[in-house]
């Protein structure tokens, strides 16, 4: 179901998300939200703005700082037919609750031979770039992408944030929904144009397993997600000036990876650069490269480029952080490097 073009308002990422949740909650009283500061505060990163006022504290529940407790509780609630949306405030905290996520939420459907459904959405904020340092700036796309049983999405633009969140809530399987802080359009963070965009009011669904070509091009394919998509778009605009036509693919889905869209692009461009705000080793720069090198090898005419956090924790000092997180400048540089390899 695609959205109609009429009366398309502009919303921030966070408003797009809370609208998706609101619509799902209105439609289905089995949908409820749990998390730290999701109530009065509306979510530290605005994902549940205004919902507490609309639905009350029974359906928008502030929790203690007990991630294993309340995210684990989503399992029991889901088994009883509820559709819990639980928020892990920063993805960086996943280590205190990873067992519930990957040994239970992710595996119960399989271990039960398909007899138990786990319609759980795990919202979590990702990303750095504002000096929140090693324990509050990660994306950890790869940590979740590695584990079977989870659909893992990381939408970039408000339109997709709403449409993919609607799909996630409607899905009978667990979905890890990663939203990027800088793309929420929050008043107290860096405000970037991409964090505001057209978002249809009515309900619509964007598939959870499809990448999207956000800019067409012929010379090289750049695969990216969230802020790296934004940076890649900036780089592509820059490159255009020097006559390099880059195609930019917004990954959107971390697991599964939409390899068809990527292969099709690489077939055309013959060259590939993958850009990630996650650690390089075992991240999606690895997975995408491996997919292409094993399943679309003959499309390739040059070594694959990988640009990601160079396997160090995110440092605090802005000068250091800037060095490790890829931006348009070093994407441009890397594109030229791949083109000339």
């Amino acid at each position: 179901m695609e959205a109609t073009k009429a009366k398309v308002q502009k919303l921030t990422g966070s408003k797009a998300m809370s609208l998706a949740i609101e619509q799902a909650m209105l439609k289905d009283d089995k949908v409820f939200v749990m998390g730290e500061d999701v109530g009065k505060y509306g979510g530290i990163f605005g994902s549940t703005t205004g919902l507490m006022e609309k639905f009350g504290p029974d359906r928008v529940m502030d929790t203690p700082i007990s991630e294993t407790g309340f995210i684990g509780a989503a399992v029991g609630a889901a088994a009883e037919g509820f559709r819990p949306i639980v928020e892990l405030m920063f993805v960086d905290f996943h280590g205190v609750v990873m067992d519930q996520i990957y040994n239970h939420i992710a595996k119960i459907t399989y271990m039960s031979g398909g007899n138990v459904k786990m319609p759980i959405v795990l919202l979590t904020a990702v990303g750095g770039g504002y000096s929140d340092a090693a324990q509050h700036s990660q994306t950890l796309y790869g940590s979740f992408g590695h584990l079977p049983g989870l659909k893992v999405v990381a939408p970039t633009y408000p339109h997709d944030l709403k449409g993919m969140l609607a799909s996630a809530i409607a899905d009978d399987n667990p979905v890890v929904f990663m939203f990027h802080k800088t793309l929420q359009g929050l008043g107290w963070m860096d405000q970037i144009p991409s964090s505001l965009g057209p978002v249809p009011q009515e309900e619509y669904f964007v598939p959870l397993n499809k990448a999207k070509v956000v800019k067409e091009g012929t010379d090289i394919t750049i695969v990216a997600a969230q802020m790296m998509t934004v940076q890649a778009m900036n780089a592509a605009a820059e490159l255009e000036k020097s006559g390099v036509s880059a195609e930019v693919i917004d990954l959107r889905s971390i697991k599964p990876i939409d390899k068809e869209t990527i292969f099709k692009s690489v077939e055309k461009t013959k060259k590939l650069l993958i850009v990630d705000e996650d650690y390089k080793s075992y991240g999606y720069t690895a997975e995408v490269a491996a997919l292409v090198a094993s399943e679309a090898f003959y499309h390739l005419e040059a070594p694959i480029g990988r640009l990601a956090i160079p396997d160090v924790p995110i440092p605090y000092s802005p000068v250091l952080e800037k060095f490790v997180i890829p931006d348009a400048t070093n994407i441009t540089r890397k594109v030229l490097q791949v083109m000339n390899a």
Partner: protein, 329 residues
Amino acid sequence: MSDISKDHLIWMYKKMKMSRYFEEKMESAYMEGKQPVFNIGAGPVPGEMHLSNGQEPAAVGICVHLKKEDTVTAPHRPHHNAIAKNVDLKKMTAEIYGKKTGLGKGKGGHMHLFDPEVKFSCGGIVAAGMPHAVGSALAAKKLGQDWVAVAFIGEGAANAGAFHESLNLAALWKLPFIVVIEDNSWGISVPKKDSTCVPFNDVRAAAYGIKGYLVKDNDPFEMYRVSKEAVERARRGEGPSIIEIETYRFLGHFQGDPELYRDKEEVPTLRTKDPIDRVKKHLIDNDMATEADMGAIDADIFKEVDEAYQFAIDSPLPEPEEALEDMFV
């Protein structure tokens, strides 16, 4: 005279006996294909096998008060809990045999039994079932139902973080949640005194402002009584409880455990206090049943269990490719 009705006592006896007989059969079924050289991965029932012989009072003493809509979560040692919660015995046995007809189509196995029909589940991660039961209790409250959720754990699990988080949540939200701590003295080779800083976990109720109960000496009758109170309180919306029961582990942690860490005298001593015998004696002494009645009951149980095994054995294995199915619904 007994304060427990005959019906309830007979039910408890049946479930205990069924669990015991089921596991005794399992003891030998498990050894098939593992002789003369034991190999955990061999035979028709491979993998770890944690039996609960001796721990039956913990399961039946509370489950006798439960109904179908109440939830039970259990840990890695789940058979007695599952049987007391009326899990489909055929499908459960088939699951343990890795068969297509099993509860999880052979994908789960002995540590991962899911029977949504009777709201039973278990898992292999210590204490991880507690938050699940909290979630079920939350659901019951949301639905305005008087359903209760019971999480069984071992005494070793009471030192895991999930224990604390779950109880705080349940108490905070006044949920119909009960944790039953089966204190069999051991967490694998580690005795309780080396894992737990207090002698009994009922005192931990103070940390949550809830009720704590302690059942000594594996007493099925006392387990019945405190569970009744805890379940009734939960149903009335009076919040969660901790029940700890001192129980017995007649066998090793898992089958094949050399048990070098425990005194050779411990198990024989425990076995003299077999809780099944106690219930039987009580029934007979109180004229609720004759030896003949008990014999008939046993015969029925043996038949039902034997049939479950036969069903499992006769069932087909899954096709290899089915490994790729049931990832998503």
